[in-house]
């Protein structure tokens, strides 16, 4: 604790270098947090879309119930469908009412006869969407087929791009932070050269001399990761109603505060590692004991 206090005292003697190092760390971990949230959020959206029916086939009005059952069985027998759900005209009306419950004008004149019966099909693999679409289109009782087309594939591509971009961008920032730590700690070693020489002569061990610099590196990491997580938490908290409105039925918010605690702890470990390894490189490079 005494050495932590002494290190903080040393930092206050040249605050601009300390500020530069802490800011670099903050920026790195702020961007990292944003990417982590984007990647996890993207995965939640992807999971949601994958679980939704990917093919919806609407029946012509005069299709008999028995024929519908036959078509459902035919679709199931292809082995491509994970789930086939029949939605009758009445159920379609219920869904319509639920979705438009806040708009009485839209509810007024609509009855079950206006809405077609349909089957909602979920596929096992996104690549089977086209096959199953072609299969149901061949049935003369089918009026119209809608599919989200390549939405899932697009989303997969996007999440992969975000992940790859995140790794490259964050790695670059980590490397920059690392170099700044090496430079700042190196400058501090140079500033304290005389003191280090005296410590060395009075019998200080290499570890005793090096310890304040390791503490300094770790402090930059702790400050950076903590400020970054706090800002991300505040921003998410502030914008969550808007983002949730944009996402519609995909429930992401409210994010469990424990998530931010784990994010902070994970970033803390990485940040302390970056800080101390940076300090170690500076010590190897500049400390001649």
């Amino acid at each position: 604790m005494k050495q932590v206090k002494q290190t903080v005292k040393q930092l206050r003697r040249s605050p601009y270098q300390a500020l530069a190092a802490a800011l670099a760390m903050t920026l790195t971990f702020f961007v990292s947090s944003i990417f982590v949230i984007l990647i996890i959020g993207g995965q939640i959206v992807l999971n949601y879309i994958e679980q939704r029916p990917q093919v919806i086939a609407f029946f012509k009005d005069d299709t008999k119930e028995t024929r519908i059952n036959e078509i459902v069985s035919d679709v199931k027998s292809t082995g491509l469908a994970k789930e086939v759900k029949y939605v009758s005209k009445e159920e379609a009306l219920q869904i319509y009412r639920e979705r438009n419950k806040d708009d009485p004008l839209l509810l007024e004149s609509v009855t079950a006869d206006f809405l077609p019966a349909s089957i909602d099909i979920s596929v096992n693999k996104a690549s089977d969407i086209n096959k199953i679409t072609e299969f149901v289109k061949q049935k003369p009782e089918i009026d119209k087929v809608i599919t989200p087309e390549n939405l899932v594939e697009e989303l997969i591509k996007w999440t992969q791009t975000i992940r790859l971009g995140g790794i490259v961008f964050v790695s670059t920032l980590v490397a920059i932070s690392f170099l700044i730590i090496v430079m700042v700690v190196g400058m501090r070693i140079a500033l304290r050269r005389e003191e280090i020489a005296i410590m060395n002569l009075v019998g200080a061990t290499k570890w005793y001399i090096s310890r304040p610099f390791f503490i300094e590196g770790a402090l930059y990491g702790i400050v950076g990761a903590t400020i970054a997580t706090f800002f991300v938490y505040a921003i998410i908290l502030f914008y969550s109603p808007n983002i949730q409105q944009f996402l519609g039925p995909i429930r992401i918010f409210p994010i469990n505060p424990l998530f931010f605690l784990y994010l902070w702890l994970a970033e803390l470990i990485v940040a302390i590692l970056v800080g101390t390894v940076g300090a170690a490189i500076a010590l190897v490079r500049y400390l001649r004991v």
């Binding site: 005494k2 003697r13 005389e194 003191e195 020489a197 005296i198 410590m199 060395n200 002569l201 009075v202 019998g203 200080a204 061990t205 290499k206 005793y208």
Partner: protein
């Protein structure tokens, strides 16, 4: 206590010390004298393991310190206090803080540091200067601070490299008098490198004279003739 056995030290083409054989007993006060470049500082640096000899052995309490691994050097240095001509005080720290450095290194608690530093500052006569900075002190007081720092951890050996170099004759005698007092009271072995004949001749101690890296004279209650 300290024994040099056939020690030679070469710096590139320059021969700093040649075939030095010297034995110093515990509690002895020894002046190492000679002109500039005679090898006095080299001799002291060999004892603190700042440098290694080109050949020969240096025994400290029977252990050859030329063979000790680097991680054991701090243990050796804790047994040695050093006073420098240029004082080597930290200008950004107070006198108290400067003297406290060796105790901090040894991991003393704050209360113990407070007590020990106050006692030693009183002993060297600068307790009232404890909160001053080195730049606020006179030469003699600064050297007393350096002595206080060198002896606070109760070393077995005290090395003083030209401690009177920047002092006037009165302060020089006073500083060496202090070293002598410490040596007698605590049985600390003192090795003082100097070319100040006045001081050497005043104290009548063992005198080892170096000339061009060789011991040319070693006398108990010796004198240093510069002419």
């Amino acid at each position: 206590m300290i024994q040099f056995e056939s020690v030679t030290k070469k710096y590139a083409s320059h021969l700093a010390l040649e075939d030095i054989n010297l034995k110093i007993e515990k509690g002895e006060f020894v002046f190492i004298v000679g002109a500039s470049g005679a090898g006095k500082s080299t001799l002291l640096k060999l004892i603190t393991r700042e440098i290694l000899p080109t050949s020969g052995k240096i025994l400290f309490n029977g252990e050859d310190i030329t063979k000790i691994p680097n991680n054991k050097i701090p243990i050796l240095r804790r047994k040695i206090g050093t006073v420098f001509q240029d004082f080597k005080l930290l200008l950004s720290r107070t006198i108290f803080e400067n003297v406290a450095v060796p105790l901090e290194v040894l991991g003393y608690k704050d209360a113990d540091i407070e007590r020990e530093v106050s006692q030693i500052l009183e002993k060297v006569g600068i307790l009232e200067k404890a909160n001053d900075f080195p730049t606020q002190l006179a030469g003699g007081e600064i050297q007393r601070t350096a002595i206080a720092r060198a002896i606070i951890s109760k070393p077995e050996v005290l090395l003083a490299d030209e401690p009177t170099g920047d002092l006037d004759p009165k302060n020089s005698l006073s500083v060496v008098g202090l070293l002598d007092k410490i040596s007698q009271e605590t049985k600390t072995t003192v090795l003082m490198a100097t070319h100040n004949a006045h001081v050497v001749n005043e104290f009548k101690k063992r005198v080892v004279v170096l000339q061009k890296g060789k011991i040319v004279k070693d006398e108990k209650e010796g004198r240093y003739e510069t002419g």
